[in-house]
């Protein structure tokens, strides 16, 4: 039971984090009535996962050998693009926000881009979704004996736990100040995307599409890939115990390119000082009582 619990918790973890962040984001920008974008994206992700799960059990031969890998790779790179896009957008949004009036204007401007939220929710759920479906399916067919039932129950509890984590992020995220929420999630999504990018590059290396590079280091004695800590670190920041030079290189390259895109772009604009005003006023009002008067 414990084993299956950990499997589904880990598979559902990333999806739950992304969904939690996406809903909180919509709430933060005052777009609560657009939750539907995230919900529909997530639901489509579940449907696509079930469809792929069914397809994989029906396929055979080269389609089964390569099909899931190609889809998996495509999802990884699409996720990287969408995460980067969303991070960039969030940064712009944070800078543009000057008050409630501005906020409404921004929202109207942003609405036509909300479909990206849907895509983000979709890839977040779909990335590990088909795997989870197949795992659960296998457990259900075993659920005729007491140990089979225990396994299936553990798996359901693991998914429930992942969903609870996502919900906790949403609940907790509402109380974090908006600039802090944007800052934390930008960094987190950046690391998540960097990890995915390097995973994709590693897969391309393994498939023979890219030449094979040397192993950069070996930290498996400390945090092993197959252990619990290694698994979660992998999901969060793309940790690998024995990464290849290309994987490390692509990780750093992504961080540098996307990081400079995200964190430098706004500062060079002439308006750079104005948007930062309310940000610091908000932040200051948390600690200094007198600072609240700045807002009036």
């Amino acid at each position: 039971m414990g084993g299956t619990f950990v499997v589904t918790l880990r598979e559902g973890f990333e999806a739950a984090l992304i969904m939690g962040i996406v809903y909180t984001y919509l709430q933060k920008i005052g777009a609560e009535r657009h939750y539907g974008y995230a919900t529909r994206g997530g639901l489509l992700g579940v449907l696509a996962s079930v469809a792929l799960g069914v397809l994989v059990t029906a396929l055979s031969g080269p389609l089964l050998d390569l099909g899931p890998d190609v889809i998996g790779l495509a999802v990884i790179f699409v996720a990287v693009v969408v995460l980067t896009w969303h991070g960039y957008w969030m940064q712009q949004h944070a800078r543009a926000m000057k008050g409630d009036v501005q906020r409404k204007v921004d929202e109207a401007q942003a609405t036509h881009r909300l479909w990206i939220i849907g895509v983000l929710a979709f890839v977040g759920v779909f990335r590990e979704g088909a795997e989870t479906v197949l795992f659960l399916w296998g457990l259900m067919t075993q659920a005729t004996s007491p140990s089979g039932w225990a396994g299936a129950t553990g798996a359901i509890l693991g998914l429930a736990m992942a969903a609870t984590l996502g919900w906790a992020i949403f609940r907790g995220g509402r109380h974090i100040s908006l600039p802090r929420f944007f800052a934390i999630t930008s960094v987190f999504l950046l690391l998540l995307a960097a990890g995915m990018f390097s995973t994709g590059v590693g897969r391309l290396e393994a498939m023979g599409v890219l030449p094979q590079s040397l192993t950069a280091w070996d930290t498996s004695f400390a945090v092993d890939d197959h252990g619990l800590a290694g698994g979660f670190l992998n999901g969060l920041i793309g940790y690998r115990a024995r990464p290849s030079v290309f994987e490390v290189g692509s990780y750093l390259l992504y961080l540098i390119v996307a990081g400079s895109l995200l964190f430098r772009s706004g500062r060079s604009t002439p308006r750079s000082c104005a948007p930062r005003g309310p940000v610091s006023a908000h932040a200051a009002s948390d600690t200094e009582p007198g600072a609240a008067s700045l807002r009036h």
Binding site: D65, P68, A74, W115, A130, G138, G202, V209, Q212
Partner: protein, 114 residues
């Protein structure tokens, strides 16, 4: 903006499909059988020649899906119940490469390249 984005996605997908096609077009390296049965890999130690690519032919004889996973080999491959999946593995340097069934972690094994 939407159009540019979907065009970008289309390009990525096309590139990946053609790359995968190129990867499968090369001629056949030796096939090494590996079975999953009764929560075990059979054999649980696979000997291969170092510095030569090969194909792992993984057959899942059990009643539930398995996922052949090796972080070192960058392979995560679902093998549905009763199915056989071919996994191309690149030339390996001499050494041991552990793998496991991610859906059932008691099932472990390793590839030894020598």
């Amino acid at each position: 903006m939407g159009k540019r984005f979907s065009r970008l996605i289309a390009c990525v997908v096309v590139a990946l499909v053609s790359l995968a096609g190129a990867a499968s077009a090369a001629d056949g390296p030796p096939e090494i059988p590996l079975a999953i049965d009764k929560d075990q890999f059979q054999p649980n130690e696979v000997k291969v020649k170092a510095n030569a690519p090969f194909v792992l032919v993984i057959t899942n004889k059990s009643a539930k899906a398995a996922e052949f996973e090796s972080k070192d080999l960058r392979v995560e491959k679902v093998v549905p119940a009763g199915k056989t999946v071919n996994v191309r593995i690149r030339a390996l340097k001499p050494g041991a490469y552990p793998f496991l069934d991610d859906f059932n972690k008691q099932a472990t094994g390793r590839i030894v390249a020598e």
